[in-house]
């Protein structure tokens, strides 16, 4: 009984934290599904989102979440430009070339971040950073709750967009069969740009919530990329429900791992989970 009581806190926090990982992983999964490119810059783009929110907050005192009203369209547009001018030519030739370009983008951002903001860790600090709710015996930090709701909103909006709009259906169709999508009158170049734009907008959102939750430095994106990989592998590529469940499992095994095995267990346990899933069900829990 005592153990069960102690477990409630890591279970609640892990689930809520999983929401953050869901938003990070969705962007990676979308780009892979449509462009067939492993966007190794995705984690760093998320951290770039954290830094931009940090810069805006320090310069003008704008709240990071409020900043997203501008940040989301801005990052979307930036994503369209990156796809159009950097990735597009490579994507049509070979996935390897696009991979290297993505790697280059990550390096440029990481080094630029070091120049502008130093290698030291930063955090997005707000008035509500240290607020928490008491439920029964446990305290839940407000930012963890925000993470989870942000994830739910992003999932719902993206799902409705993919299901209910012509452009969303075009993205879905192009991810399943690009050649035939073009025969349906779909401009695949445009679809690629919009898909990458959406992934960037998700990076802006994930960046803000990551920065509210954890300190970040110029290379934090690398660890985040690996986590996003883990989530996508757990859930199965191309399945939104899978990514959601994968994110929650990852968050849960991180907090439970920390509870049982101390700080070293925090990443060890989730990646053991990934390993187990890869062995038993290589296509992921919800994969096709």
């Amino acid at each position: 009984m005592e153990l069960l009581n102690d477990l409630i806190s890591p279970i609640v926090l892990g689930t809520l934290l999983g929401g953050l990982y869901v938003v990070v992983a969705l962007g990676l999964s979308l780009v892979f599904g449509v462009l067939k490119v492993i966007n190794v810059a995705h984690g760093t783009l998320v951290i770039f989102g954290s830094y931009v929110a940090y810069a805006v907050a320090s310069a003008w005192g704008i709240d990071p979440i409020l900043w997203l009203l501008i940040g989301i369209p801005l990052f979307f547009f930036l994503g369209v430009l990156i796809e159009k001018y950097l990735l597009a030519r490579a994507v049509s030739k070979s996935a390897d070339a696009a991979l290297i370009i993505a790697f280059g983008i990550a390096l440029i951002i990481q080094n630029a971040a070091q120049i502008f903001w130093s290698p030291q860790s930063r955090s997005l600090l707000t008035d509500y950073s240290f607020n928490s709710f008491q439920v029964g015996d446990i305290y839940i930090p407000l930012v963890y709750i925000l993470n989870f709701f942000a994830a739910l909103i992003v999932m719902l909006v993206v799902r409705q967009f993919l299901k209910k709009t012509y452009m969303g259906q075009a993205i879905t169709a192009a991810s399943q069969n690009k050649g035939t999508a073009e025969l349906m009158g779909i401009n695949s170049k445009q679809v690629y740009q919009i898909a990458f734009g959406i992934a960037m907008a998700m990076a802006a959102i994930a960046g803000v919530f990551y920065g509210l939750t954890f300190p970040f430095n110029p290379v934090s994106g690398n660890a985040l990329l690996i986590i996003a990989f883990g989530v996508v592998i757990l859930g199965g590529l191309g399945s939104m429900a899978g990514t959601f469940i994968g994110g929650i499992i990852f968050g849960l095994s991180q907090t439970l791992g920390g509870y049982f095995f101390g700080p070293t267990g925090q990443l060890l346990v989730p990646f053991l989970m990934v390993l187990v899933v890869l062995t038993i069900r290589p296509q992921g829990l919800f994969g096709r």
Binding site: Q169, A170, T172, A173, T180, A181, L183, M184, G185
Partner: protein, 241 residues
Amino acid sequence: MEMTPEVMLQVKNINVYYDKLGVLWDISLDVNKGEIVAIVGSNGAGKSTLLKSISGVLHPKEGSILFGDQDITNMDPYKIVGLGISQVPEGRQLFPDMTVYENLHIGSYNKNARLHAEENLAKVYKLFPILEERKKQLAKTLSGGQQQMVAVGRGLMANPKLMIIDEMSLGLSPLIVSELFHVLHEIKTQGITILLVEQNVCQTLDEADRAYVLETGHIVMSGNANELMDEEEVINAYFGE
């Protein structure tokens, strides 16, 4: 005297290459408004390459392709669809993890077709009632015949003036094939012109108004489908049936 037919599609002396390998030489053909025209030929004759050239997936090195009075020789596929040429590709090529309804609906992606999406969907469900019953099913769970119905229906959703259908009968039972041909005639009476590409020579010639026989990248015969039927010996020589 017959009235001069209105030419819908005009392929003029095209040469098509895959990189440096020539596949089609000096191909010319016309499709008139309201016709069912067939292109028949054995495997490897260049039928699919010809279709890819018309739909803009490949561009001819020489020659030109006109749709109405518009030059579409070097146009991108998605723009060509918008002009009113839709294609039902070989092997159905449905989006496997989308529902029947979603597969049909995405057919109406081009701007012109969106305006008519609802009426066209009603038409498709009238032609293939089974698709309405199965509209929520994933495309990959359908039988081959039903998948072909979705593919034809999806082509209709593009609100086409000309519908190109590639190897419709491939891998389907004769019963389903004649059902599909019956629907094609129905589609024709609705004012849509049809260009068929088939390996199945006899039945296709039976259903088409005119036909072109393609052999190793050249058109070797053309004319009234019935007349070509009478040349069966010649056809036999080409197809070894």
